[in-house]
Symmetry: C2
Subunit: 306 residues, 2 copies
């Protein structure tokens, strides 16, 4: 137990590396055919590195990428300090686990999770640090029970903390995963938090761990429930088309992706989030009353699932 409530970088790092391992084990067990490769990498400038793990061409998962990274720098880039000019020039460390899972069966939703920790230090000053993260779900075909389950787990992850935590981060998630040029949500949401530090290190770290630990509880039961469902070629085609929206969001809006690409992050690890097969089609319209139309009109409208 950290009785001083001082930030404990090593404790966060150990947790993140263990979380990556736990999630990869659970997903590989579920897939049954393929396992994750392990790619350890170092940044060329010597400022940190990471462990990228990818499962490709599985029975259940067409592609699953789970990335751990820990980068540091002697000078915080200006783009990272627009909100916090007092940090310019600080030494910093950023670490996190980030994952995107693209299942093969269009009845299984795509899922994304991320937990991250940032700390900046300046001589003779207290360090400035915060946690961020969350998880969200992107179905192709909607099932109310899956949405309710996902959000129940999200709520459970927030339960031990301040009242209103789930509601606050659920709303933030809906606001963040929004494809403005389509006037469309990316999916059915979940949790999104950032800049978390007000209640001190121990409580904030505990919250990040709770989010990280609940991801598999949220996703795996949905995968298990859907993975043997039959699907048609037309349903597969709709999935490939809808994956285009994932590409649009990640490349046009996602802050982590753009920040990573702009600051010389490892491109292959960042763009591992993109789906293995994608179709783009001009002006596709769904049949009125179809399941495909229901995705847009019902599931992709933010609602209170729990």
């Amino acid at each position: 137990m950290n009785t001083t409530d001082q930030p404990d970088i090593e404790a966060v790092k150990s947790y993140l590396i263990e979380l990556q391992q736990t999630i990869c084990n659970a997903l590989a067990r579920e897939d049954g055919k393929e396992d994750f490769i392990i790619d350890e990498w170092q940044r060329e400038n010597g400022q940190g590195g990471g462990i990228t793990r990818v499962l490709s061409n599985g029975d259940v998962f067409e592609q699953a990428g789970v990335n751990f990274s820990h980068v540091s720098g002697g000078q915080l880039p200006a783009s990272a300090t627009a909100h916090r000019p007092e940090l310019a020039g600080s030494e910093f460390q950023a670490m996190g686990v980030s994952l995107v899972i693209h299942p093969r069966n269009p009845k299984i939703p795509t899922s994304h999770a991320n937990v991250r920790f940032f700390i900046a230090t300046k001589e003779n000053e207290d360090p400035v640090w915060w946690f961020g993260g969350g998880f969200d779900l992107t179905p192709y075909y909607g099932f109310d029970e899956d949405c309710v389950h996902w959000h129940s787990v999200a709520k459970k992850a927030c339960q031990p903390f301040t009242e209103g935590t789930y509601e606050k981060y659920k709303t933030w998630c809906d606001n963040y995963f929004y494809i403005k040029h389509r006037s469309e949500q990316r999916g059915i949401g979940g949790l999104f938090f950032d800049d978390l530090n007000e209640e001190g290190f121990n409580k904030s770290f505990a919250f990040m761990k709770s989010v990280g630990d609940h991801y598999i509880d949220g996703y795996l039961p949905i995968v298990q429930r859907r993975k043997n469902e039959a699907y048609t070629e037309a349903q597969r085609e709709f999935q490939l088309y809808r994956r285009g929206r994932y590409v649009e969001f990640n490349l046009v809006y996602d802050r982590g992706t753009l920040f990573g690409l702009q600051t010389g992050g490892r491109t292959e690890s960042i763009l591992m989030s993109l789906p293995p097969v994608v179709h783009f089609e001009y002006n596709r319209q769904e049949d009125p009353g179809s399941e495909e139309e229901k995705l847009y009109n019902y599931y992709l409208k933010p609602k209170d699932w729990v």
Copy 2:
């Protein structure tokens, strides 16, 4: 003949509409199986519209999109006036033809062309206007004779104009179509020009027309030379993978795409540039000495082709 050298908006518009027609006719004739659909659209706010033309699932062209648009506004958006603060609040008109052609056979390169005209007017002041545009080629498998032909036509388009025009706009094209996070060119380049107005309206318009008129001369002979070449599944796979770079460039860097999406342009017409089928793959590496490696090491390095 415009003897006054005053900007002639209607003349530009007529040219652009005719250019769209000419290009679509030439491509549809070459395809032989499918023709372009015609989608006329108006902006909801009444400020202009366009004609979107798409050929899908052809024998030669997997997808070809050729878009004409003419939009206007009472207030130039701030994002458009960062370079020219004196234009803030002006009435403006923007019109252009923009096209991206994705052939089926990986031996045929993808091509892109764009010509555009912008004019801002303020009471009691001379209008401010300029032309922009260009064309560029993105091969999957390189052929020196195709690159030489493409750049010879680009040079020919510039021949009647000031000396050094080809060299200037060829370099601008290489600089613009660069995927920074990959340290990679998008293709083998061509021409890119913007802000063209110094020599007056008639000469600038003539240059834009020359670029527009030479696109088909540049592209069609390459299509004809390559369309019956055999290709393997592995070559098709490489094409689908490389198309991912097109997506990355257009969504992360292309100014026209981002400006269009951010300012409420018609999403379906803007994103028509994205390839119909795309594969993303983690950390793909090419065999040393292969044709695929040669694309990166030789063709995607800017060079003097003519």
